[in-house]
């Protein structure tokens, strides 16, 4: 039987930003398969030039409406590294809590609002408000807890205010920390219910051997700073990030692409899991085993499972950190900052993968050069290279344009792309 398939998605829905999918199958063979980023470019690296160090984190947070906390954290870390600033222990805990809050709100937004409708046969979460209000309330409780954590420690979820060069400006009062701990503990049964829901998702059987890049945890599952590692065995220090990313400009889109040992690599929850799964909380490991997630996993669709596994880890770690902060009592959270000429890199694992900010400063603490490498920029080439293999795998009898379009869309969504970010 002659199998011809056409997929043309203009401005894919349920992803952040604007991208197009184009696939052509003729006689069962893929003759064309493309992922094109068409988002308008914003030139943040140019706007950062000349900015004072106190402004860099505030401006670079605006690169992304979902992972603004991650951008702010990478930014202040790059600046602190350039100035040789060491932040207090309490500030380190607060920053990790802000990071955890962002991971929770972003992963739950993606799992329930952006990804779940595909598995439940709905165009969006909106029809589910009336059809499955309990599931929606579950999603809102989980996502809300993440947002309230961000509000408490970063001052705001989108575009944080308290994460500043030198530490964290405000230590939340003890009562608020305890209330957050109680709220997070109450979400543990909700996490179990979410696991039951996701266990019922039919994950497409598709694998393509991929190189995975992430931070390398030493004692803890990594989120802020440290060594860089790839599953193909490349290891570099944080400041050598360029050797891990090798960004290059492509003709067709406004996002750059990246490569390492192969034509493309992937970052994100699956990369973190594959490279650091031994450091997960025991409950998170248990859930991974129950949902069939085993390292090394080369099925991009399993990133959804990895997200939930990370949420379980992060929830337990948040409870631990909140208790440690309460025990610390009235602790110092900021140190005095003296700018100096120099350069620094900050690497942070944001929900979609590893993010780098790199600044060069003059004597007055103003930026001379800035470079930001975004997770989706690193994933774009991998999405592009997944597409033909996916189309080939499913170009079988019974496949229709509509079904292949859904599969391709689901593939792109499994990376949870943040496209505005990638063309910062």
């Amino acid at each position: 039987m002659k199998i011809d398939l056409n997929v043309d998605v203009h401005h894919l829905t349920r992803v952040e930003g604007h991208g197009n999918i184009h696939v052509r199958v003729r006689d069962g063979r893929v003759v064309d398969a493309r992922w094109d980023v068409v988002e308008t470019p914003r030139f943040f690296e140019v706007m950062l030039k000349g900015k004072h160090y106190t402004t860099a984190g505030i401006l670079s947070a605006r690169i992304c409406g979902i992972c603004s906390i991650g951008h702010c954290l990478a930014s202040v870390r790059a600046t602190e590294s350039a100035f040789g600033v060491e932040i207090p222990a309490a500030a380190r805990k607060l920053r990790l809590l802000a990071k955890h809050g962002e991971t929770l709100q972003s992963h739950f937004l993606h799992l329930f609002f952006l990804a779940a409708p595909d598995f439940l046969g709905a165009p969006s979460v909106l029809p589910l408000v009336e059809k499955a209000p309990e599931a929606v309330r579950l999603a809102l409780r989980l996502k809300g807890a993440g947002n309230r954590l961000c509000d408490a420690v970063a001052g705001r979820t989108t575009h944080p205010v308290s994460l500043q060069v030198g530490g964290v400006a405000v230590l939340p009062p003890r009562a608020r920390l305890l209330a957050l701990r109680d709220e997070l503990e109450r979400t543990l049964p909700d996490l179990a219910a979410a696991a039951d829901l996701i266990a019922g998702f039919e994950v497409p059987g598709f694998e393509r051997e991929t190189e995975y890049v992430s931070l390398l945890g030493e004692e803890e599952y990594p989120f802020i700073g440290g060594q860089l590692v790839s599953s193909d065995g490349v290891e570099r220090a944080e400041h050598q990030y360029r050797e891990m990313t090798n960004e290059y400009v492509v003709e067709s889109g406004t996002s750059k692409w990246c490569r390492l040992s192969r034509p493309s690599f992937a970052v994100g929850p699956l990369a973190r899991f594959n490279n650091n799964h031994e450091l997960l909380h025991p409950e998170a490991k248990k859930l991974a085993a129950r949902l069939g997630l085993e390292a090394p996993c080369h099925n991009p669709f399993m990133a959804h499972v990895a997200r939930l596994v990370e949420c379980v880890h992060v929830t337990h770690d948040t409870i631990r950190l909140l208790e440690e902060l309460v025990d610390l009592g009235e602790a110092q959270t900021m140190v005095k900052v003296t700018p100096r000429a120099g350069e620094g890199v900050g690497a942070v694992e944001v929900p979609r993968g590893i993010l780098y900010h790199h600044y060069m400063y003059d004597d007055d603490g103003r930026i001379m050069r800035a470079n930001c490498v975004i997770p989706t920029t690193q994933n774009n080439a991998n999405i592009h290279h997944d597409l033909p293999v996916l189309a080939e795998r499913f170009a079988v009898e019974g496949m229709t344009d509509e079904k292949l379009e859904l599969l391709c869309s689901m593939l792109v969504r499994s990376y949870d792309p943040c496209i505005s970010c990638s063309v910062h």
Binding site: S124, G144, S420
Partner: protein, 250 residues
């Protein structure tokens, strides 16, 4: 869903995004404690970031982001033709936002710096009202969801919405936030329109003016006091130019 015995009409909403971070439309999915009631009160017709459904006509178009490419101008004009009410959502849509800082650079040089030998199409950043007429502007970076809820209530009951005329300072006093301007930080609170509930000073960061100018703000006097307190001309100008909300004064 009745309110005081009255069934409000359900308005058909669509959400569109242009040059920006999409953080403002993300706020629509935040404030989880009232989100279900919010979604029951409106019909979401077209919202690419959260829904694959695209169902045609709408009453209210919420537009997030600034305009910086020719295809965006075309898309925006089409949205204007179809929308009864066009709302600029957030500081990028209202003022151009941080994207406006790009306009101070040589765009060809900027393109070379970022993209090398493969320059991408880009235009100077414009606010939505500089391209098509706008019916309502909701400023903020990001917008305050609580304020968006209040505005949507007013739209449903066809009552005009009055933005606060007072500055951010008033809300700091209401929250018992210690004045950061008095403690030596530059803060645009005295001249910036309130209504956000002043989250930045409460989190230890002086106001950056994302909501634009308060009514009857005495800009000249503010600048002279800020200078007296040791803030440089450059610092004040950069702060006021950050979101584009004080365009006529920077």
């Amino acid at each position: 869903m009745k309110y005081l015995g009255i069934e409000p009409k359900r308005l058909r909403f669509a959400v569109f995004e242009f040059t920006g971070c999409e953080g403002c439309e993300l706020q629509l999915a935040n404030k989880e404690e009232t989100l279900l009631a919010f979604l029951m009160a409106i019909d979401v017709i077209d919202f690419r970031e959260v829904s694959s459904a695209r169902n045609g006509e709408y009453d209210v178009a919420l537009v997030d982001g600034a305009i910086s490419r020719a295809d965006e101008v075309e898309r925006l004009r089409e949205i204007r033709r179809r929308a009864k009410v066009l709302v600029a959502l957030g500081s990028c849509a209202c003022f151009g936002g941080v994207n406006r800082m790009k306009n101070a650079c040589d765009l060809e040089e900027a393109n070379r710096e970022v993209y090398g030998d493969h320059p991408k199409e880009t235009l100077p950043t414009r606010a939505i009202h500089e391209v098509v007429p706008v019916d309502l502007k909701i400023p903020g970076c990001p917008v305050s969801k609580a304020e968006v809820e209040r505005i949507v209530q007013h739209l449903l009951f066809e009552v005009p919405y009055q933005f606060p005329v007072y500055p951010v300072c008033l809300e700091c006093k209401q929250r018992f936030t210690v004045c950061l301007f008095d403690r030596g930080q530059l803060c645009l609170g005295p001249i910036t329109r309130g209504g956000c509930d002043a989250p930045c000073p409460a989190g230890g960061l002086g106001c950056w003016g994302c909501r634009g100018q308060a009514a009857e703000a005495n800009i000249d006097e503010f600048q002279s006091i800020a200078r007296e307190r040791g803030h440089s001309e450059r610092e004040i100008a950069e702060r006021m130019g950050f979101f584009g909300g004080f365009e006529e004064h920077s």
